[in-house]
Amino acid sequence: MDKFTVYAALNTKIRVLSKEFLNKEDYLNLLEKKSVADASLYLKENLSYRSLLKDINPDSVSRRDLEDILKNNMIENIDKLIHYFRDDYKKLIRFLYMKYEIEDLKVLARSIFNNKGPGEINQSFTFLGKYSQVDPEKLIKSGSIRDLIYSLEGSEFFEFLIPLIDGKRENLFRFEMALDMGYYSIIQSRKLRISARDRELLKKWEGMLADLFNIQWIYRGKKFYNLAPEELLNYTINFGDRLSFEDRKKMCYAKNTEKLFKITNDLTYGFLFKGEEISTDIYMERRINRYMYYKLKDLSNKSPFSIIQTIEYVWLLEFEVRDIISIIESIRYDLPSEEARKFLVKVA
């Protein structure tokens, strides 16, 4: 089948779904709200979220409930798109869930590590089991990291986690790292029968992500965790768009952050380090997200009728959830709206 028959209907659907995104004005209005209740009420009255939030009571709704609803909405919308795909493309969309499930798993591991009972957890775990097909209840009931690892038996993650169980390595850090490395290993070794163009686009996109996350990892590992270069290198993602293994190795063995900036600059990722060092520390994640945001739009414009529109939609959906949650958080902690704005992805 040619790309138009595959993507014409899908793109129309995506365009309809995209209409539900908040616009810039909505974001600005939301930022001006003084309380979580006001913000929830605004969302409830806003067209696109009206039906979604119709059952909540704005006065008593918690951040977790909102997050749950928004994430469930994400799943619902992504599931809508799955119907437009066949065969391996369906699998590809399921791979998108894996990223979110791993994020939820990491949050869960952290709360287990901090000895919080299931009642105390104020995070939402909407994506648990969405890719791995493990029963979320079983995961949430785990009493320790070890339990959690055994609960994941039968899923694809298990083989990456089982080496941790030797008494010394069952800690949170190793768990998170093993999951992340597992994720990249799984997406790298997946074999999908998709069109050559889509494969290329995917490679480009995922390579770019890998580059950015690698740079972030190496920077943080050097600055905050004081990891040995060998360890740093071993924990890098083993593929990339512009970064080769040699580049990564050079970065890991760079004597200081100055050297690191220089190398990144040469690779045109220098924007991550602009301004003072302190702002780099705080805003690096947001810079990465902003970069991806524009890059997605760019890729999408250049390759209409491809898989990238779907990926763009999913990421924009994620960014929106993220932004709404950060606005709610900043309202809760009385951050001035000017400050809060600096953390948003979709609105500058």
Partner: protein, 658 residues
């Protein structure tokens, strides 16, 4: 052929006998338990003041409910565990229960068995894991066979260097290799297995920690090798294989001893399940029992025919240590409703299910099953008269009843099938076709009016019988008001007859009726309106707290209008009997026409068979429901209350009982 007579049996005895008495009662399967306190407090309870009863009389005013609650979870767990371990089918057998035993002592012994078995099975598990570990060693040692004739202990016991055997993914091995110049160890790749690479590393002890970190970041898995054994790979492996054999022997021995246990305790284990189930039932029954200082009191309804058997059994086991009371239930007014046990001729008993679907008859009510069964068969047959299809139902019914053991379903089906066959002969219909057999009585399609009129006549007969039934039922209950003056009583009966006569005179015979009839009818209506006042006057019972205000008259007035409407609509309702008989033929004609429109003989036969299947399923279902509707709505509402309690004797709820 009706509701079985019951007697109340009371058993009073020493508390130590309680469990055994209950077991016997459960065994006997004829007692419908009732709450003992309710019985003792009822007005007609009487304990004769004889010497034997002295103790019971003393305790009677101070009875309490038997409130001990036991938890059988643990017992159950152990019984299940042992059963699974020894592959014993859970069965309840009479022989294990009949014996004289004390449950607690019996269970004690069970716990002992469990403990002994537990010890053995833990040891088996230990040995098995030891074998597992040695097998792993053997597998891992294979990777070291690169060091042909080297004594492995020399590698594992180096003074300044540390050796490790690890497994990492290929991907990570790649990273390691590309960064080899920075790794403080000698790395030797010894094997590739699927996605993984097996590696031996040797590093100075001082750098061990650094290497550990690096390996950790590569997500390694350590492959253990035995440190305590010396020799070449071959020698160590041989030694391990020998060890495994030894362990295996040990396991076999242990398993044998488990077998011995099984042989030794098999009988006891089999008893366990039966006795546990029995004990659970006994415990559940205790909620209905009352206890005093030393005695227990229990009561239940027992069908008249089974009383002597139960009593004899009790006396056989316990001699005269129990006080057994047997009372009649005829005395109305004791607040406890007796349960209803229906017993009917084999021909009608399957219809009990359909009657109970509406309601179980009251103990003092007349069992409507026979009348119901008879009329139901007639109604179904009249609506679905067909020799061929009736035969199909009859055969399916017989199969269900006798081969698949679905007694009630099959019974109903075979009986209505039979009636369908009879009416089939009367109508001359075989699988819808009216050409094969001559009609013995009437051909529905050619005598449409006869069919419809006779169905109404049938309806009138049935409605009149319902009135009669109600009159008899109410006279049983000594309910004068309902019997004589009620809407469905004698007054209603006469009114209905007069109404029919009037209608006949005016619409059929075209004659005017004499005003005497009109006045009589109005008089009957007035009787119905004032039935409560009249019956009070006659019976001199003014104690009823009736409110004779406007509301009462409005209510009763509408009630009478409703009665009038109902009489007409109920009668007309029976038209459907004729209509469905016609419908049955009509449906067949439709399929016949369709089949004739098809040219190939195969095709037309297929249509006919298909049509017959549709008639068999869809039409039969509709007729089944319509007949039921006529029974429930047109007839039951007139004479049947159905507010009794089903007879449910205590027994062990288990299909594999005995």
């Amino acid at each position: 052929m009706s509701v079985e007579k019951m007697q109340i049996m009371g058993i009073i005895g020493k508390k130590i006998f309680l469990d055994k008495v209950l077991r016997l009662v459960i065994f006997n399967k004829s007692m419908h338990m009732i709450n003992a306190l309710a019985r003792v407090n009822s007005t007609d309870f009487f304990l004769a003041p004889t010497e034997k009863n002295i103790e019971a009389l003393e305790e009677e005013p101070f009875l309490k409910p038997c409130s001990q609650k036991r938890d059988f979870n643990k017992d159950e767990e152990i019984v299940k565990l042992l059963q699974n371990l020894f592959n014993i089918e859970p069965q309840i057998k009479r022989e294990f229960l009949g014996q004289d035993y004390n449950y607690d002592d019996f269970m004690e012994q069970f716990y002992d068995i469990h403990e002994k078995v537990q010890v053995v099975s833990t040891r088996i598990a230990e040995r098995s894991s030891a074998i597992e570990k040695k097998r792993e060693y053997i597998d891992n040692l294979k990777y070291l066979s690169v060091f042909h004739n080297l004594d492995i202990s020399r590698l594992t016991h180096m003074k300044y260097l540390v050796l490790r055997l690890i497994r990492i993914s290929r991907e990570n091995y790649d990273k390691l290799k590309k960064n080899y110049e920075n790794i403080p160890a000698v790395i030797l790749k010894v094997a590739i297995e699927g996605k993984y690479v097996i590696v031996v590393s040797i590093t100075p002890e001082t750098l061990e920690e650094t290497l550990e970190k690096i390996f950790t970041s590569l997500n390694y898995t350590i492959l253990p090798i035995p440190k305590e054994l010396g020799g070449t790979v071959g020698e160590i492996t041989e030694e391990l294989v020998k060890d495994i054999e030894k362990d295996q022997e040990e396991i076999d021995k242990l398993k044998q001893s488990l077998e011995d246990y099984k042989e030794k305790y098999k009988e006891e284990l089999k008893k366990g399940y039966s006795r546990l189930e029995m004990e659970k039932r006994v415990e559940a029954l205790k909620t209905e029992i009352a206890v005093g200082e030393k005695l227990f009191f229990m009561f239940g309804f027992v069908p008249l025919n089974d009383v002597s058997q139960l009593k004899n059994e009790m006396e056989k086991y316990f001699g005269d240590q129990l006080i057994i009371l047997i009372d009649e239930v005829n005395k109305t007014g004791s607040g406890i409703t007796p349960p209803t046990k229906l017993s009917n001729l084999k021909l009608f008993s399957p219809f009990e299910t359909l009657v109970k679907m509406y309601g179980t008859p009251d103990y003092r009510e007349k069992d409507p099953t026979v009348f119901f069964g008879l009329t139901y068969m007639i109604l179904f047959g009249a609506m679905f008269g067909d020799v061929g299809q009736g035969m199909v139902f009859f055969i399916i019914g017989i199969i269900l009843e006798f081969i698949l053991k679905k007694g009630n379903m099959g019974g109903i089906l075979s009986r209505i099938g039979l009636s369908s066959i009879i009416f089939g002969f009367l109508y001359g219909s075989v699988f819808g076709s009216e050409e094969i057999l001559p009609a013995l009585l009437v051909n529905p399609m050619e005598n449409i009016n006869t069919m419809l009129i006779s169905s109404v006549v049938l309806g009138i007969v049935l409605i009149l019988s319902s009135y009669t039934y109600n009159i008899i039922n109410s006279s049983y209950e000594k309910n004068v008001e309902e019997c004589l003056l009620g809407r469905n009583g004698l007054v209603g009966f006469f009114f209905y007859l007069l109404l029919l006569y009037t209608i006949y005179q005016i619409f059929v015979a075209h004659q005017s009726i004499s005003p005497v009839y009109m006045i009589l009818m109005i008089g009957l209506l007035i009787l119905m309106l004032f039935k409560v006042q009249l019956s009070n006057r006659v019976l001199h019972s003014n104690d009823l707290n009736m409110d004779f205000s406007m509301n009462y008259y409005i209510e009763e007035g509408f009630g009478i209008i409703e009665t009038l409407l109902a009489m007409l609509s109920n009668t007309i309702s029976f038209l459907r009997v004729g209509a469905f008989a016609l419908n049955h033929v009509g449906l067949y004609i439709a399929f016949l026409t369709l089949s004739q429109m098809i040219n190939s003989s195969w095709g037309s036969w297929t249509i006919l068979v298909l049509g017959n299947i549709i008639i068999l399923t869809l039409e039969a279902l509709i007729v089944f429901i319509q007949a039921l509707r006529l029974e429930y709505y047109e007839m039951f509402t007139k004479y049947y209350r159905g507010d009794g309690i089903d007879y449910a004797p205590v027994r062990i709820n288990n299909k594999i009982f005995f």
